[in-house]
């Protein structure tokens, strides 16, 4: 069957009333948590992971994908109206968006962000649709050694290339791999890193780590920070119409398209990350605009482009996740663990064995985008109300849900204490400028890398050279080394 036929079958799955309902719940919850500062899609999906025991896989993944897309839309509302962006990818939107809102143009900023997100999200989803199969066909040629090399490349790009420091990124990654290794080794049955504690034999749940790092850690950070209580967090009013003027349209549509084409490829690379494409889009628009004097004072292009890039790269991240089983963001890693709890392994085989799941999921992304456009434009007033929840109540609520997400699945105070330990770690990581996403990625991807390494070594009968004699694996490893030492060498060469 060709791609189009698969997609039509996917729509057959996604348009079933119950699945439509899951998609709707997902995008609504996603928008809400995207709007709320301090909450993100990784945390929310982690909290809802136990649903996988109850709900069938297609429904759960449609829900999670809806949350993922929804959070991207919701984040822009916050960065326009509040100027304290919830996630790093929305920082750029606040540069111009918040200025527009201060000038009484909040409606136009929200509109160009929402419509731009829709346009780019749809382009990104079309990208997934047509890129998935070629990537799958490529991936079918991969052996365990090649997968291992791909994961090493991904480790390097996710932790060492993105972010401010390679050493701190790799430290976070190593901590994640360490956490992922705790428990019984499933090949030999030996306990590792358990310190003799029986509760650790089953390993540490990724929910505990994600919720601890993102929810408890963030709350601790803000509670210990004096300035978080005094800063002005008044929500700007939406005074103007939510419909853009003709001039706004004329100035927005090209940045949307450009943003989508900047964001999607970068998201789809095994490196991921939504920050780089948003910054790239911002500087592109700043260069190309006919109104350079408006940049820094509320230029609509500076909202339209980065928002589009943000959404398209979020879509792009799903390509390696689905087609290779390679998560390149914290959210994708947690979605991967949702697959794993069904004993489903994303990757090329999944497209052959469970086409209705994969294509149903992809089709639901198209539907979710339409729902999100409706949710975010006419109903923006509702989200503005959510934004007005006082901080003390917001963080009180976050911790109540954090308790449910951990204690509520195991009824174990040990898990609760582990959650707080992860929270303390999250606090120090934030305080000392360590990225947290590599922890989650290392935790999920580390065991997979080890598994592929062992398989490759079994095939090669213990010969390490197998990673260097296979062309795919050798070139991926060469890329990884280049990504790791390249920037340093470049710096030294320029100095010399």
């Amino acid at each position: 069957m060709n791609t189009f036929g698969h997609l039509m079958n996917g729509f057959g799955v996604a348009l079933q009333p119950l699945n439509l309902l899951w998609a709707f719940v997902g995008v609504t919850v996603g928008t809400a948590i995207g709007v709320l500062p301090g909450l993100g899609p990784a945390l929310t999906i982690a909290l809802l992971l136990p649903l996988t025991y109850k709900v069938e896989p297609t429904a759960a993944l449609i829900l999670f994908a809806g949350i993922y897309y929804g959070a991207m839309y919701g984040g822009s509302t916050t960065s326009i109206l509040l100027n304290t962006p919830g996630e790093s990818a929305s920082i750029v939107t606040s540069l111009e968006g918040n200025k527009m809102a201060k000038k009484g143009r909040a409606g136009a900023a929200l509109a160009t962000a929402a419509i731009g997100s829709f346009v780019a999200g749809t382009i990104g989803t079309i990208g997934i649709t047509f890129l998935a199969e070629p990537v799958v066909n490529l991936a079918l040629m991969f052996g365990p050694a090649d997968y291992f090399a791909l994961m090493i490349l991904s480790f390097v790009t996710v932790s060492a290339v993105l972010g401010s420091s390679a050493v701190r990124g790799l430290t976070a990654l190593a901590i994640g791999i360490f956490l992922g290794m705790i428990g019984i080794d499933n090949q030999t049955g030996q306990a590792r890193f358990t310190f003799g504690v029986t509760e650790l034999f089953d390993g540490i749940n990724v929910i505990v780590v994600a919720v601890g790092l993102f929810a408890v850690g963030e709350t601790l950070y803000l509670a210990f920070q004096k300035s978080s209580k005094t800063q002005d967090d008044s929500v700007l009013e939406v005074k103007d119409s939510l419909w853009m003027s003709k001039a706004d349209w004329a100035r927005s549509w090209k940045p949307w398209i450009r943003g989508a084409f900047i964001g999607f490829p970068i998201g789809a690379m095994p490196a991921g990350g939504a920050e780089i494409p948003t910054f790239l889009s911002y500087y592109t628009e700043k260069k190309l605009t006919k109104y350079p004097e408006e940049f820094g004072h509320g230029a609509i292009e500076g909202v339209a482009g980065p928002e589009a890039a943000n959404n398209a790269s979020a879509a792009g991240v799903l390509v390696p996740m689905l087609a290779l089983g390679l998560p390149t963001s914290a959210t994708a890693a947690i979605m991967l663990s949702a697959f794993q709890s069904y004993n489903i392994n994303p990757g090329p085989q999944l497209f052959a064995t469970k086409p209705e799941l994969v294509w149903g999921l992809i089709a639901s992304l198209y539907i979710g985008n339409v729902m999100l456009l409706v949710l975010n434009l006419p109903l923006v007033g509702l989200w503005v109300k959510i934004l007005r929840i006082p901080t003390p109540l917001l963080y009180g609520g976050i911790l109540v849900f954090a308790t449910i997400g951990t204690y509520g699945i195991s009824r174990s105070v040990v898990d609760l204490l582990l959650l707080y330990a992860m929270g303390a770690m999250g606090f120090f990581m934030r305080r000392y400028d360590f990225p947290t996403a590599p922890v989650i990625i290392g935790m999920i991807l580390g065991p997979l890398a080890e598994q592929n390494f062992r398989q490759a070594m079994t095939i090669s009968q213990g010969d390490m050279m197998t990673f260097l004699t296979k062309p795919i694996s050798a070139s991926l490893l060469a890329l990884a080394v280049l990504a790791l030492v390249g920037p340093k060498l470049w710096g030294m060469m320029r100095k010399a």
Partner: protein, 165 residues
Amino acid sequence: MTGENVSATAPRGLAKGDLGIAIGVVVLGLIAAWQTTEIPQSAYAAVGPRAFAWATSAMLVVMGLFLVKDALSGGWSHETDDFGEVDWPGGLWLVGGLAVNAALIDVIGFILSSTLLFLFTARAFGSQQLVRDAIIGFVLAFVAYVGFDRVLGYKIGSGLIEALI
């Protein structure tokens, strides 16, 4: 050279906080290495359960040593430090709330324990409206319990209020 004359590019010497973190990473790596020696050898597989454990321990130690080096030559956290002043009462209210929750949740159940956690957290963020926070916290915990335990099938366990519904 006095403190005021230190320019941004001059080495600032030792950064205590950063050094503490760096040493912590080294120690974690050493603990991991110690735990690796506790893993029994396996004769059957080409790569045993120890190989990756050694690699991870080594990576932690090496990264930790890099961080120690950074910390001794001025540290890194001052470059991006946006933390500002510490709010001890606020932070300690929150830590207290977490401790109360962990101590009481098995005894009085999720709903009441979470209500207390909510109260402490709201106080940590400067709220003075005890009654309002208690009511909102209780309603939220109650609704969350019913939603997750009774509808979604989580197993949050029993308690004083839980037994009544």
